[in-house]
Each structure stands twice: as structure tokens, then as C-alpha cells.
């Protein structure tokens, strides 16, 4: 397991050549909302409502957004833990959108998921050995020196002691449990790992350990990641490209540098400006964008641009015409009629700019 794979993992810049490993088009998931004795459908939660993105081999795509914007749902759709209600998911050129679970099974080896809560995602009655070794048994994989050796190699790879083989999850701390979870996902040498909030339940010092581990493993095993998180600093640290979601839509997607240096969507600007900065001297001078109100319900999302209820740049057109996700700079796509920081684009209609932010 530990030996490096054939392809060298040298490229530091995201490799965007060739076919994407994962390709998502107009993906939708609407959860029906039912009522009464006969489960009459009265509406739908549009958890994911038409999103498209590509993930290239060897890169890390970060998916950020506030609670309930559909990040986890996206992760579950892509790994087919949920059945999409529309759109298309392609993995290595194969359409897996509605593939049967039987045909999906061999593909599951290549596509694994890491979950947020290191406490509930491990079966407390199984030993670490059984947990990490389970994928071998489920997939019926033959290992060279037996499953035990393979598991111990994995434990070592994620920084645990191979002697932990016969211990139970409750004997470990949160960070160690997350390592166990990661070892489990690595068992079958996946190509793509979807990590849903892999560090948000951990303490800062432990969080940094796990972030470093994920990066090391990526270099060593040539992994591709989709990392779902709400912490913009963590996402910036580990991603090559970042997609920002709001109410089931991707509103901005770009290279990491370009997104954090010149965020174009008003929502991205607001998000970045809301992150508290650990620099007490700078706090007086900082300009802040303050949004009012909360994220609206995905049950009845606002029409056209979904952000218009909280956007300080909103105009009539924003309530009527949905802005397309357009490429305004190379590799930088934004869904907004009046983007900020747009190269060359006339800032003309954005008259609301110097008004206070709906204080």
C-alpha cells in the first residue's frame, strides 16, 4: 500500500490536462416534502439545484458554503449514496448517474468518502483492525501478505501505531479516530476521495495534523480530493480550486489564488469579509461587508438570483433573470449580474456600491 504508485505525484500546480476524473453536469437533488396521512407531496427542498463542475486528476477541489447550502448532499450524490433527481455524474468517462448498485460496486473502490464525525462513523463494537480491513472483505480483495499486514501498513501510513490493530475506537481521541476513518477509505487505493467536513469536529491543533496528513497522502498516493468544508481558511489551505455554494447553486468557482485574491461574487466577498482575523491590531482598520438576515429556506428559494434578498448590489434584474455561471476570467466562473473585481467589466449598474450594507 505504501509504495508510491506508478505515476509520479510531482506536479504542484493543478493538472488540468486531459479528461476530468469526475464531471458533474446540472446535478439536481430535490427532496419531496410530504404532508398528512397520504404523504401528499406539497413541495420540494431543492437541496442541490443544477450544479456543474469538473475535478481533474491529482487536484483538490474545495466546496464551501453556509450550513444547509447543499454541500453534503452534493458529496452524497457524487458518490451515489443518494439518487440524483436530475443531471449527470461522470466518473472516468462513465456515466454513473443512475447506474445500478451492482454495477457501481467495483467503482466504489475508486471513490471513497470521509465523514465529519469521527465518533459516530466508526462502529464501536469492531476493532480497529476489523474496521480498516472491512473494505477488503466487502470487495473480496486479495492482499499479498494477508489482510492483517495490509491493515497495519495502512495504520502506519496515517500515523497510527500498527499495534493498535486490536483496539476499539473508544480508546482513541478524536484526531486518531479521524485517522482510522481515513485509513479505512485508503484501503482500496481509491482514486477520488470526497471528504465531508473532515476536520470540523476536531480541535485546532488536531485539525492541523489531519490537514497535513491529507496533503501528505495526496502527494504520496496521487489522490484526488473533493473537500467539503465551511471553514474558508481550511479550504484555502488545502484546495487548488474552490467552488462556493449558496442555496443549492454554485455561485462562483475558480482557482484558489484568484478566488481569494479577487472574489467576484458578492456572496463570496461577504463570506471572506466575515471570517474573523487573528490580528487584533488590524481590526480597527478593516473594512467589512455585513450581510443582514439568514440564509433563506431551500424550500422556497428566492427566484432568479437566490442571493438577491441579502445582496447589497441587487437590482430589479436580479429578481427576474437568473445570472448564468459565466467565465469572467480564465478559469474563474461567477453567477452574478454585477460582479465585483471583474476584469474589464464595466462596474456601471452597481450603483448601490457605496450605500451602507443594509445596516
Amino acid at each position: 500500500m505504501t509504495e508510491p504508485q506508478t505515476q509520479p505525484a510531482t506536479q504542484t500546480a493543478p493538472a488540468r490536462q486531459g479528461e476530468p476524473l469526475l464531471s458533474v453536469r446540472d446535478l439536481e437533488k430535490h427532496f419531496p416534502v410530504t404532508k398528512g396521512l397520504f404523504q401528499r407531496q406539497v413541495g420540494a427542498v431543492k437541496a442541490v439545484d443544477g450544479i456543474s463542475f469538473d475535478v481533474y486528476k491529482g487536484e483538490t477541489l474545495g466546496l464551501v458554503g453556509e450550513s444547509g447550502c447543499g454541500k453534503s448532499t452534493t458529496g452524497r450524490l457524487v458518490t451515489r449514496l443518494l439518487e440524483p433527481t436530475g443531471g449527470q455524474v461522470m466518473f472516468e468517462g462513465q456515466d454513473i448517474t443512475h447506474m445500478s448498485q451492482g454495477r457501481l460496486r467495483p467503482l466504489r473502490r475508486d471513490m471513497q468518502m470521509i465523514f465529519q464525525d469521527p465518533y459516530s462513523s466508526l462502529n464501536p463494537r469492531h476493532t480497529v483492525g476489523a474496521i480498516v480491513g472491512a473494505p477488503f472483505r466487502i470487495q473480496g480483495v486479495q492482499t499479498e501478505n494477508g489482510v492483517k499486514k495490509a491493515v497495519q501498513d495502512l495504520l502506519e501510513l496515517v500515523g497510527l501505531n500498527p499495534e493498535h490493530y486490536n483496539r476499539y475506537p473508544h480508546e482513541f481521541s478524536g484526531g486518531q479516530r479521524q485517522r482510522i476513518g481515513i485509513a479505512r477509505t485508503l484501503a482500496l487505493k481509491p482514486k477520488l476521495i470526497i471528504a465531508d467536513e473532515p476536520v470540523s469536529a476536531l480541535d485546532v491543533s488536531i485539525q492541523a495534523q489531519v490537514v497535513n496528513l491529507l496533503e501528505d497522502l495526496q502527494n504520496e498516493l496521487d489522490l484526488t480530493y473533493v473537500v467539503i468544508a465551511h471553514d474558508l481558511s481550511v479550504v484555502r489551505h488545502i484546495s487548488d480550486r474552490v467552488a462556493v455554494m449558496y442555496l443549492g447553486k454554485i455561485v462562483e468557482i475558480a482557482e484558489r489564488k484568484s478566488l481569494y485574491a479577487t472574489p467576484m461574487h458578492p456572496y463570496t466577498n461577504a463570506l471572506l469579509s466575515a471570517v474573523p482575523v487573528p490580528d487584533p491590531r488590524g481590526r480597527a482598520g478593516r473594512e467589512r461587508i455585513r450581510l443582514t438576515g439568514d440564509v433563506p429556506s431551500p424550500l422556497n428559494p428566492p427566484p432568479a438570483c437566490r442571493f438577491h434578498t441579502r445582496c447589497w448590489k441587487a437590482q430589479e434584474i436580479c429578481k427576474k433573470v437568473e445570472p448564468p455561471l459565466a467565465e469572467l476570467a480564465s478559469g474563474h466562473r461567477v453567477a452574478c449580474h454585477f460582479p465585483e473585481n471583474a476584469p474589464g467589466a464595466p462596474e456601471a449598474p452597481a450603483t448601490g456600491k457605496d450605500e451602507p450594507v443594509n445596516a
Binding site: S205, A274, R290
Partner: protein, 342 residues
């Protein structure tokens, strides 16, 4: 002249079946009216137990409490339960982390504020209700006259936290303790709540303690900062001391673990190795020694002798065997350059 709130060597231990849990084991700080103290530390470091201890909520529930808590010239550790109860809610109030579970699900938001107000103010229900509506308006709840009759589950997370703040402020407390007030909230809402707390503190001129594990939140609000590790205060100083002249290896570790938006991203984070200590079998000597990269510099002392909380200069306290000069040298020449350059 001692400060408005003066905590001296506070210890709170819980006897349990597994042994004595030393949740708080030597915490010292002072806080003036109108100032904000930030308490940071990892999960289980004793932040919440400290704050509940100041409010006297461990009294009479089997905890061993020692040390001194002086509030406005009055000692609270030795005071009677009934006396401290009278101060709670009136002189000192608290905001909790998860506003959904911290509010009673069966009573309206208004009723809960009215209740808090009427414990300490002999007024009619109608007067108290007016006051509740007024408070809800001041914390930025739209249509307070209507929302006063809502139940907590009908509020969004941010509104609930606002209501919680309104409840805590209803009796105009002089000391307000906020235990992770924004941890359960989204960033944009967190920013709103932090702004609100800053504004209200200015308006009420109360002393504010904000407890969090997020150094960013602390930096936004605090004048002074207390860093806790394994139930002990390991470093205490002004916000400038902690962020620009930190002297404890654990504080360095926290700063290095944290990815930051305001700087060029570093290649790698600098985590602290290992995991937080057990509070029952606290490591002997310096509790941080199993994780500290500088253990060898203090030799056997790190394992055998507990370092004392000592002042370096101007009220900056550090609990470490290394000499202040040695620590400053390490910070300037080894730590800071790594943290601040990409």
C-alpha cells in the same frame, strides 16, 4: 485597587468514580468594566467549567472549589449559595453556545426573558413584557412586538442567539460571560453576532468574558487573553502580548496550527503533536511536556516540577520553565519567521 473581577488561583475539581477530575486547576486573571477578556483553549481545557464556576453554578453539586473570585469587592467562593444566586442574572449573566438547546423549548422567547427580568425586578408582567420587546428590538430582532410570542424553534440560529443575548442583558448585568456564543453559527451570522456584542458592550459598559477555541474570534473582541491548557492558565496577557509576543510553546502551537486568511498560505501547517491531556492523570511536571518541542531545554524539570505562572513584564503571565529571555529569543528567531513567511 483591585480590578472589578479578580480571580485568584481558582481550582474546581470533581470527584468521580474514575478519580479526581481537575477540570480547573489554577486560573488567575483580572478584568475591568468595559473591557473584554478572551479565554481560549482546546476542548476539555476547562473553559466552560471556569465560567460556570464564576457564576457559582458548581456550588453544592459535589465539586471541590478553592481559590478566590472577587466581584466588585465581594468574595464569591466563600459566599452562600443563596447570596450568589441573587447576583446571578442581575450582576453577572451568561450566554451559552447552542441557543436552541439553551432555551426552554416549551416557553416562548418572551416568557423566558420576562422570567429573567422579573426574578430581579419587582414589576408587573405587562411592564416586563414591554421590557422584553424593547430588549429584542435592541439586539436587532425585526418586529419584536410580534416575535416576542414565538417559541425558540421558530427562530433561526442567529435570531435565537440574539434572543439569548437579550435575555442575558435584560437585567443590565455588569459582568457578561459568553461561552462559545458563535460556534454553532454560520460565518456571516457569526460576524453579525460579534458586531452586536461589541456594540452592546460599549453601550452597557459591562465587563465581557468571551470563551472560544477560535483565535480569530478572540482577536476580534478581546483586550486581554487567557490561554488554558489542561485546566491551567498557561499564558495570560494583553491581546498584543498573545498575538505578537507569545511566550508559551503551546500558544505558539495554536498559532501555527491555524490556517489564516490574512497571510499568504504556508506550505504546511505546524500542528502540535499528540493530543490533549487527561484531566484525571495529568502529566507530572509541566502538563504540556509530552507535546512540547522544547522539553529538552528545561531538562528533567519539565517532567518533575510544575512550572509556576510567572510575570514576564507588564502583566504578561507565562507558565513555563524556560527563562523569559530564552522564550523571547525562540519566538523572534525560530517561531515567528516560520509563521509569517510563506
Amino acid at each position: 485597587m483591585s480590578p472589578f473581577l479578580d480571580v485568584k488561583d481558582l481550582k474546581i475539581h470533581f470527584p468521580t468514580d474514575d478519580g479526581l477530575v481537575r477540570s480547573v486547576d489554577g486560573v488567575t486573571f483580572g478584568l475591568e468594566r468595559g473591557k473584554t477578556l478572551g479565554i481560549v483553549g482546546e476542548s476539555g481545557s476547562g473553559k466552560s467549567v471556569t465560567s460556570l464556576g464564576i457564576l457559582g453554578l458548581h456550588k453544592g453539586r459535589g465539586a471541590n472549589i478553592s481559590g478566590e473570585i472577587w466581584l466588585d469587592g465581594e468574595e464569591l467562593v466563600g459566599a452562600s449559595q443563596e447570596h450568589v444566586r441573587g447576583l446571578r442574572g442581575k450582576k453577572m449573566a451568561m450566554i451559552f453556545q447552542d441557543p436552541l438547546s439553551a432555551m426552554h423549548p416549551f416557553y416562548t422567547v418572551g416568557d423566558q426573558i420576562v422570567e429573567a427580568y422579573r426574578i430581579h425586578n419587582k414589576v408587573t408582567k405587562a411592564v416586563a413584557r414591554k421590557h422584553a420587546i424593547d430588549m429584542l428590538g435592541r439586539v436587532g430582532i425585526p418586529e419584536p412586538g410580534r416575535r416576542v410570542d414565538s417559541y425558540p424553534h421558530e427562530f433561526s440560529g442567529g435570531m435565537r442567539q440574539r434572543a439569548m443575548i437579550a435575555m442575558a442583558l435584560s437585567c443590565d448585568p455588569e459582568l457578561l460571560i459568553a461561552d462559545e456564543p458563535t460556534t454553532a453559527l454560520d460565518v456571516t451570522v457569526q460576524a453579525q453576532i460579534l458586531d452586536l456584542m461589541r456594540d452592546l458592550q460599549r453601550e452597557f459598559d459591562s465587563a465581557l468574558i468571551i470563551i472560544t477555541h477560535d483565535l480569530g474570534v478572540v482577536a476580534e473582541l478581546s483586550d486581554d487573553i487567557l490561554v488554558m491548557y489542561g485546566g491551567k492558565c498557561i499564558e495570560y496577557g494583553s491581546a498584543d502580548d498573545i498575538f505578537y509576543r507569545p511566550e508559551h510553546p503551546y500558544t505558539w502551537g495554536l498559532l501555527g496550527s491555524m490556517p489564516r486568511l490574512d497571510r499568504e498560505p504556508t506550505e504546511r501547517l505546524l500542528p502540535i503533536k499528540g493530543s490533549p491531556p487527561s484531566l484525571i492523570n495529568v502529566p507530572p511536571g509541566c502538563a504540556f511536556h509530552p507535546r512540547c518541542p522544547y522539553t529538552e531545554r528545561t531538562g528533567d524539570k519539565a517532567r518533575t516540577e510544575a512550572p509556576a505562572l510567572a510575570e514576564t513584564e507588564g502583566g504578561h503571565l507565562v507558565r513555563c520553565h524556560m527563562s523569559p529571555a530564552e522564550r523571547r529569543d525562540l519566538w523572534e528567531n525560530e517561531i515567528k519567521p516560520v509563521l509569517e513567511t510563506p
